[in-house]
Amino acid sequence: MLKISQNENRIDFEGELSFSEVKQAYDTLQKIIKITNQDLIFDLEKISKIDSSGVAFLDIAREKLKSKNLELKIFNTSQDIQEVIQTFSAGKVALNLQVKKDGFLESIGDSFYGFIQNLENLLYLISDIFFWSIVGIFNRKGARKDSFIQQAVLIGVNSVPILGLISLLIGLILALQSAEQLRQFGANIYVADLIAVSMTREMGPLITAIILSGRSGSAIASEVATMVVTEELDALKTMGINPVRYVYVPKIHAITIVMPLLAILSIVIGIAGGFLIGYFYLDLSFNAYLKETLSVLYLKDFVTGILKSIAFAWIIVISGCFYGSIVRGGAEGVGKATTASVVASIFMVILADSLFSLIFYF
């Protein structure tokens, strides 16, 4: 409780000047400062308790008056209160610091038990991530400032050069491999169909996912694992901040936007690679190649490509976050978690890819 009464330039405070009351004191101060043109006197005789926020308030009051060439005089502070003010008054007082080994069956049992427990944790993590990702779209409170853009740059932009190069090479290789057969049948133009369909439906999203597993998935896993090892995640929890929201969700949001863009980039560059072979080796003109490419691609191919790449994106982030979060031991554990995450995410991406092929084209 805080009571503030003003008598000309003298302000009496009664009660506590602590975290829950300082806002009120500050608001009152704002009003008084605006109109006053004389020095202020704060009478703290009836203050029963002050803490660091109260001291910060006094400091601010002094500074505000000073900027108007006025002075703050503080009266009637008890010994206790003076001590607290001395401790916390900013800039003034500074510290002058310069086993037993398990049997075979037991260890099988243990690892099975561990697997079940991990599975449970994984399901929790997935549901948490999706819940907060959706909440996070509408309510940005509790997320790190600017983290979305930062993550998007980290995940996306930095992968562009390597992704571009590899997509080009894949386009070249696919086209070269088929060029010889097609030429024998005089079916040169069909190289465009082949490249367009395989890049859009399959290779573009897949190459992107594999590169991002290696580049971003591993970065995510090691970042999260490091946060676990250094107790950063614990610290967030004890400050009442949800780590899923603060750390994982910005990554999900960023990759959901960035991954399809990267996949499209990969598709386009792959097709360009195919064109190079078509042009120099199969004597196809640019117009003919483009026309053939556009005629063979349906909207469905694009949509499935994009959907796939989004699913792959989620697999990569979730795998990184999960393996990062179950890290054991110190710095050494971080390396292991990173490796495990990359292996698992590449495997899961390919598994998911086969499922998609079944669903969409069978």
Partner: protein, 245 residues
């Protein structure tokens, strides 16, 4: 309320491995309690169980009159607001500056204007002599500086209870003396109850009001420094004689 923390029959496990095996202990209000025990004896686990990071396998932990793992989200936030934790590795958030780290709890738990928050941050960082490092990232600090920055964050909200996991490990003796003085000030001036895990004998002599001693998952001693030295319990007496585990 005499005790800020009341622990009954606490059993803590990692998987099937029992780390703490039936701990009964009360932590007194307004005092500095030192947790002692050899490396790996479960001190950090003890702390994690108290602050709700590790669900007890059995037993209850009552903090500030509330049972820690039975709180709804709102009550939990209320309790978290009243505690500060200095983790063994500092646990600063690496992507933001030192001053932003200290302002995280202030922004999360108060509605104070930015001006006041900045002032509090400045004051807390000057308390730990890091006024010159406000804008630095954690990766740009030495180990000891990280610890001090983390302490500034832990006391950002003037908590009722402060937990410190090995605060002076890796600090030079002068810094460590100053840290102890700061901890004493926090106790005397803000009436903070403080629980500290440490092995530093000199530091224990300067600040301890109460000592609890963990060994093999059990609490083998609780009492004052004098009582500990005269307890006749071999492991305890040994520690105070040699000063290490």
């Amino acid at each position: 309320m005499q005790n800020v923390i009341e622990i009954e029959n606490l059993v803590a496990k990692y998987g099937e491995k029992v780390i703490l095996d039936g701990i009964n202990v009360n932590i007194p209000k307004g005092k500095i309690t030192i947790v002692l025990g050899g490396s790996g004896s479960g001190k950090t686990t003890f702390l994690r169980s108290i602050i709700g990071l590790l669900e007890p396998a059995e037993g209850t932990v009552k903090m500030l009159g509330k049972i820690v793992n039975q709180l709804d989200e709102k009550e939990q936030e209320e309790v978290l607001k009243q505690i500060g934790v200095l983790f063994q590795n500092g646990a600063l958030l690496n992507s933001i500056s030192i001053s932003e780290n200290v302002s995280v709890p202030l922004e999360k738990h108060t509605n104070l204007p930015k001006e006041i928050i900045d002032k509090i941050v400045e004051s807390k960082l000057s308390l730990v002599s890091l006024s010159h490092a406000l804008k630095l990232l954690p990766s740009e600090l030495s180990g000891g500086m990280k610890k001090r920055a983390a302490l500034a964050r832990a006391i950002a909200l003037d908590p009722q209870i402060l937990f410190c996991d090995e605060p002076s490990a890796g600090l030079d003796p002068i810094t460590s003396v100053n840290l102890d003085e700061l901890i004493l000030k926090l106790k005397d001036q803000l009436k903070i109850s403080i629980l500290i895990i440490t092995h530093e004998l000199a530091s224990i002599h300067r600040i301890a009001d109460e000592i609890i001693f963990l060994s093999k998952g059990k609490l083998i001693f609780q009492g004052t420094l004098e009582e500990a030295k005269n307890s006749g319990i071999e492991e305890v007496v040994e520690f105070f004689k040699i000063g290490e585990f």
